[in-house]
């Protein structure tokens, strides 16, 4: 495969066998579908079963979701850390960084504000 030697980046979504439209692309989609179905069913099972320790369920769900997103990125979007994917991979890393900053930053700041602010009953009591 000369595309790995020339150093130019490939398009995201381009598959290893895409120049022939080959069977390796089909196998990649099949693997992705199988793994995704397993992870989805595991998520719904973990949310409804009592077999998992209660406070551990959100952690398990988060792990399963991140795993399934990884499966989608690798087997459906064909993003990898291969030499011809450097630009795609770096922009993905920056995107994940911004997303994490927005979500966890908001949650931490709002939880902190909720913690600091006086409960409504006390505000009303003081104004009397």
């Amino acid at each position: 495969m000369d595309r790995h030697l020339d150093g130019n980046d490939g398009a995201p979504g381009g598959t290893p066998g895409e120049s022939h439209g080959g069977s390796s692309a089909l196998i990649s989609y099949l693997i992705g579908l199988g793994l995704s179905i397993l992870l989805t069913l595991a998520s719904f099972w973990a949310a409804s079963t009592g077999a998992v320790y209660g406070p551990g369920v959100p952690v398990l769900l988060a792990v399963l979701a991140v795993a399934q997103m990884g499966v989608h990125l690798v087997f459906f979007l064909h993003i990898s850390s291969a030499p011809d994917q450097v630009n795609n991979f770096l922009s993905l890393a920056f995107g994940i960084f911004v997303v994490a900053l927005i979500i966890f930053g908001s949650m931490i700041i709002m939880a902190n504000l909720n913690h600091m602010i006086m409960p409504m009953e006390q505000i009303i009591a003081r104004q009397r």
Partner: protein, 204 residues
């Protein structure tokens, strides 16, 4: 393909290689758009995470959400991601039969998803759980509605692409547009993983 045009380019330094193939540039640009779209969804996710317990005495997620229905929606979207892959393989092999088969299956599964979500929304609003009821429901309808809107736009795009294949055949321009569509469709599926984990399963 990046390497297919000039295989001898391997040893030349970066400064002498010339521009990347159009397909690579288009794919990269659309990938950047998708990442910015995902950042927009991250804002909606953050709003939902902050507001999910602010029900203002109204119904909570635990009372509203039906897991079986969400599993059905998830299966629709997951299978449509797979059939979208088949469609892309069909376009690369320039096989109209495989392409139209994949496109039709993707369209049917996507329509099924949008219809189930439409039924869910209308039932919730009929039960008094409208977006105006509480901050939790505003955040819910914004997040899930934005995703549903993306899927609807994707379906319109898919029908447009089917007519373009019919009218122009598998030219390199149509192939690039199909690559962008498949990236869009797979990215929507990734957003949906976050939606069903955080919104539907996280609520119990």
């Amino acid at each position: 393909m990046s390497g297919g045009l000039n295989p001898t380019v391997g040893k030349t330094p970066l400064s002498e290689r010339g521009p990347a193939p159009v397909r690579t540039v288009v794919g990269f640009g659309f990938w950047l758009f998708l990442l910015s779209d995902i950042v927009m969804f991250a804002v909606f996710f953050a709003a939902y995470a902050v507001l999910s317990s602010s029900t203002a005495g109204g119904p909570s997620g635990r009372e509203l959400f039906d897991h079986d229905r969400v599993l059905l929606e998830t299966c629709c979207l997951l299978l449509s991601s797979f059939t979208c892959g088949l469609m892309l393989i069909g376009s690369k092999r320039e096989s109209r039969r495989l392409f139209y088969l994949g496109a039709l299956a993707t369209l049917a599964l996507g329509l099924g998803f949008v219809m189930i979500e439409g039924i869910e929304f209308s039932e919730m609003i009929a039960d008094g759980a409208a977006p105006t009821r509480s901050a939790f429901l505003s955040a819910f309808f914004t997040l899930v509605g934005a995703h549903g809107l993306h899927v609807t736009v994707g379906l319109a795009w898919l029908m447009l692409m089917a007519t373009q294949v019919e009218a122009m055949g598998f030219t390199s321009m149509v192939q690039r547009r199909l690559l962008c569509f498949s990236l869009f469709w797979h990215a929507l599926d990734i957003v949906w993983i976050g939606v069903f984990t955080i919104v539907y399963l996280g609520a119990g």
